[in-house]
């Protein structure tokens, strides 16, 4: 079944730690995205990719990095976690036609203590 997977689902980590949030999709979509979502707020774009070896920064990218070595895999790395990074992180992908908009993963709930 075509889908998009995020791991871990929940993560509690100490300040200053380096963390990588994993995202994989089985749909063969070229376009992938990372969003941050806080309760009652808009989704904010962190990074996006239009294909292998292509990555672009969104509005909230300054404290994180991404890589796109394989079509199906788009990990997000926080080099030094801070309490302000506490949030829900959503990975998404889309096909070129955009008929169905985004397909989202279930998210990673990150808490930095």
């Amino acid at each position: 079944e075509a889908d998009i997977y995020q791991t871990p689902r929940y993560l509690v980590i100490g300040t200053g730690k380096k963390i990588t949030l994993e995202c994989s999709q089985t749909m063969g979509h070229d376009k992938m995205y990372w969003y941050q979502q806080d309760p009652g707020m808009e989704l904010h774009l962190i990074h996006y990719s239009y294909g292998v070896n292509s990555t672009e920064k969104g509005d909230l990218s300054s404290e994180s990095t991404v890589s796109r070595i394989r079509t199906e895999h788009f990990p997000l790395t926080l080099e030094s976690a801070r309490p302000s990074h506490t949030s829900q992180y959503l990975c998404a992908s889309s096909e070129d036609s955009w008929i169905y908009g985004y397909t989202f993963g279930s998210g990673t709930r990150l808490t930095v203590v």
Binding site: M41, L45, W98, G101, R109
Partner: protein, 110 residues
């Protein structure tokens, strides 16, 4: 600047009480307006794509409509399982990056 405003922020309905959610937008060259449903602790789930004024889409108890300035998500005879946050997003011309609204939190009481 593209903007999406959803109203109301929260809506409580009794089971069977029909209502509508609003999504007002300003965008440069609309290439699609999207409705998503999001359950607590999960990612948004795609519902509809609308492309032009006058277009309508239906799915079970949900019906989405589009004008040049806003979209409505009509919920007919809702059930408790329709409780969720409903997100609206618009995709501008020349971009694959949509602008999202803050969502409407819907609670349907039995």
């Amino acid at each position: 600047e593209d903007q999406v405003t959803q109203s109301p922020e929260a809506l409580r309905l009794q089971e069977g009480e029909s209502s509508s959610l609003n999504c007002s937008y300003t965008v440069s060259g609309l290439r699609g307006l999207f409705w998503y449903r999001q359950d607590p602790g999960k990612g948004p789930e795609f519902l509809f794509t609308l492309y032009s004024a006058g277009e309508e889409k239906e799915k079970e108890r949900l019906k989405a409509t589009l004008t040049k300035k806003e979209s409505f998500l009509h919920i007919t005879a809702p059930k408790p399982e329709d409780s969720a946050t409903y997100l609206c997003a618009v995709r501008p011309g020349g971009s694959y990056i949509p602008t999202f609204g803050r969502g409407t939190s819907l609670i349907v009481h039995p």
